[in-house]
């Protein structure tokens, strides 16, 4: 397969690297450039809230590829130089250091930026967790902390709470939902996750939004809740969502609406594609536009983008998948379960804390969730595939 004369991938994390690898695997031999904002070679993010934070892995283990494997990619890798602008007509990306990089095809894989609370930048002791450097900064803070508050009742917040608790910190988890991950898991399994945290000594302050931070002499002292209460803390981790890193596309003429808007081929404009957390694309089988912030999507979407760059013209119609490890519990989710769906336990039992749950919406399987049953859950994934491929009534 010949493909374009040159491909520039903006973003050197999981999606960017996987795009480059998929292009080569599919036989592309043209010029390939990988541009990364961070100075680290491509590394993996899921361990940052677990193994790296807890100190069980050194940073070297998070490398996505060994140096020899990276050099086999036969690509130019530019690190520590964020993209600052894109000219769509000439397909030229400008970087912070002043480079102008042009290519026949450009892949936008710039990921996410964590949301922050007002005033967060002026207070020490307040952390986010997105990058390797964030994780390395948070670890000593947690070890020295006397009281930690995690703001955020989603996947990242609960993972950090579990890790911080295992590290011995006194942890409070705050968020607006009645139970952690309730909007995805529904109330019964959200409550089960809440129980797991409570059993391990995490204090849950849920069902109440966090309105801001309190501080003294430039140091955080706690978080304020919309009930008027204040949760005292000397370390606060803000993990209540992230926004697509699309600021650098301002003025490019590309459509940005909670992510770079792409068609069913993950194409934002002629020769310009989006992959990973940053991309919102049209999922033909679900009949809606979707943006997925998970690790599996980063590689799967990269694969689809590489195929389309090389002219395969295939819609990207994945079965979404994510997993989370919290304490000794491994949770796998295939499909898109949501809080309103009807939940049935189809393997194992909640009493044993080992089961697969099926989520049905209007009689159609929307997703399956495995709780300490990853293989059985993966086998049930087919039910989601069947529901996706069934004709829309």
């Amino acid at each position: 397969m010949s493909g374009p004369a040159g491909v520039l991938v903006v973003g050197a994390s999981a999606a960017g690297l996987a795009t480059a690898e998929a292009l080569r695997r599919k036989g592309y031999r043209g010029g390939l450039t990988l541009l990364g904002a961070e100075s680290h070679p491509p590394y993996d993010r899921p361990p940052l809230s677990k193994q790296v934070l807890s100190g069980t892995w050194d940073t070297e283990r998070t490398r996505l590829r060994q140096p020899a494997t990276l050099s086999e990619l036969d690509s130019e890798i530019i690190l520590g130089d964020p993209a600052v602008g894109l000219d769509v007509a000439t397909r030229t990306v400008r970087t912070a250091s002043g480079l102008a990089l042009s290519a026949e095809a450009i892949v936008v894989a710039t990921g996410l930026r964590p949301r922050t609370l007002p005033g967060q930048g002026e207070l020490t002791g307040v952390h986010v967790l997105r990058t390797l450097d964030d994780s390395l900064a948070l670890r000593p803070a947690l070890l020295a902390a006397s009281r930690v508050v995690i703001v955020g009742d989603g996947v990242l917040g609960t993972e950090i709470a579990a890790t911080a608790r295992k590290m011995g910190a006194k942890v409070t988890l705050a968020g607006p939902q009645q139970a952690p991950l309730e909007s995805q898991f529904g109330s019964s399994l959200g409550n089960l996750l809440g129980e797991l945290h409570a059993e391990h000594g995490v204090c849950l302050r849920l069902g109440t939004a966090v309105t801001g931070l309190t501080g003294r002499h430039g140091r955080v002292t706690g978080v304020r809740l919309d009930t008027g209460d204040e949760l005292p803390a000397d370390v606060v981790v803000v993990a209540f969502g992230a926004t697509p890193a699309t600021e650098w596309l301002a003025g490019s003429g590309l459509r940005v609406d909670d992510g770079l808007v792409c068609d069913s081929r993950c194409r934002a404009a002629e020769g310009i594609y989006g992959a990973g957390d940053v991309a919102r694309w049209q999922h033909d089988a679900l009949g809606t536009s979707l943006r997925l912030e998970n690790r599996t999507n980063a590689t799967q979407q990269a694969n689809a983008v590489a195929a389309n760059i090389l002219g395969e013209d295939q819609p990207y119609v994945p079965v979404p998948h994510f997993w989370t490890d919290q304490f000794d519990t491994k949770i796998q989710v295939h499909g898109l379960p949501n809080g309103d769906a009807e939940v049935t336990i189809v393997d194992g039992s909640t009493a044993e804390r080992r089961f697969v749950a099926r989520y049905q919406h209007n009689g159609k399987v929307a997703g399956v969730l495995g709780w300490n049953m990853p293989k059985q859950c993966r086998l049930r994934r087919q039910e989601v595939v069947d529901a996706l491929s069934a004709p829309v009534p």
Binding site: R25, T299, H321, K330, N372, M373, R378
Partner: protein, 66 residues
């Protein structure tokens, strides 16, 4: 081609078993990868390469580029 897996990195996603079921399976109890064939025949190389690249935990390493 020589395939190795890092059980400690494996997150139990099972993508490898979906993409190359002749070469990868998962343990019943915890979903960790089982390597069924460390030296797969050439006809399987494409799917094994895809599985290694698509592994969301980068737990599959391939030796030799042939």
């Amino acid at each position: 081609m020589k395939v190795t897996v890092d059980e400690e990195k494996c997150c139990g996603a099972g993508q490898c078993a979906l993409l190359a079921p002749e070469v990868f399976d998962q343990r019943e109890e915890d979903g960790i990868v089982i390597l069924l064939d460390a030296e797969p025949v050439e006809s399987l190389h494409t799917s094994v390469r895809e599985a290694a690249s698509m592994c969301p935990a980068a737990a599959i390493e391939l030796g030799e580029s042939s």
